[in-house]
Amino acid sequence: MYGGGTTFEGIKAEKKDDPVKLAEFEARIERGEKIEPTDWMPALYRKQLIRMIEQHAHSEIIGALPEGTWITRAPGFKRKMALMAKVQDEVGHAQLLYSAAETLGKSREEMIDDLINGKSKYSNIFNYPTFTWADCCFISWLVDAGAIVNQLANAKGSYGPYCRALDRICAEESFHLKYGHHCVIYLAAGTEIQRQMFQDALNRWWPPMMHFFGPSDKISVHSDTLMKWKVKMGSNDDMRNQFLDMYVPKIRELGFVIPDPKLNKNEETGRWEYTEPDWEEFKRVINGDGPCNKERLAVRRTAEERGRWVREALRSPKTVYQMPLA
């Protein structure tokens, strides 16, 4: 469900790839055909894809925690069952994405260990606390909306297993977005307490939401290679602008005030203007120093440790680990 904010630090060309194979590989992508696990691929392509899909999978499994904070308190049957199904989907999407990344040669367990040990990153936005039910509704609607902008773009990428996973995830997430919007409409049309609860949530969550798509193009490491290989499908600012185009009107329609007086669409350029997000905070949060980073990883580690006796009892020498096929 969540993507974006993927950081491709310091991409340097790997050791020389076989030029003939590289030409065939690039011609295939040029024709719009997908790369499959058994194809030859440049080392850099494999490395960046593992990083990207792994970060997306981690974002899903960690993303289940801030919304999961409200799973036992969802008000009424409709919200309770929807939130149970939605948080379950996040775990389900993590399972799909880890499988897609496993086809590139890294086992799920190594990926989860790297997550827990802080070696592997995940989306900035899940390191913030969900103080109220309205915070949870903000995630269900707008963070989901942001993730879908990224995922629809990535679904047109070049790696087959990731596209298959994203096709399924995007189909399943249409319910998430509508559920989230439905919740926020009821808050907007509700009592003064409900309206204020969401306005407060919007004030808290807008800055991390602007960080969600990653550093602005001016300062982010820009890689033509990853664009050519359809690993990176659009610039961070493109994604951010798409999101603002689609959702700022919907937020304002409900009578809420977005906490950035400069936020405005420049009709000539067709681009949104806004207060420059604080990219220092973004780096700090991505690298482990946000309000809930420690709790998220501690909870994930506890789930792994408490489940170890189950996995060890299930493990049998006969059914040894194998990379998924597709």
């Binding site: 409200w70 036992t72 969802a74 008000p75 009424g76 039910w133 009821y186 409900q194």
Partner: protein, 56 residues
């Protein structure tokens, strides 16, 4: 419902103590509960009760 509990337990190394020796824990059916239920209900209805006139 063909799988019988005994059948399942027999396929494991678990022992099933004699049920007649068990002293059933009754009371729930007539509203007499453990100390765990009310906190569960308070937590579950926290948002619901935060604004009783609201529609969520």
């Amino acid at each position: 419902m063909d799988k019988k509990v005994e059948e399942i337990i027999k396929q494991t190394q678990l022992q099933l103590t004699d049920l007649k020796l068990q002293k059933p824990v009754f009371g729930g059916r007539s509203g007499k509960h453990s100390e765990h239920l009310q906190p569960l209900l308070d937590e579950m209805s926290e948002v619901f009760r935060s604004d009783p006139s609201a529609e969520w």
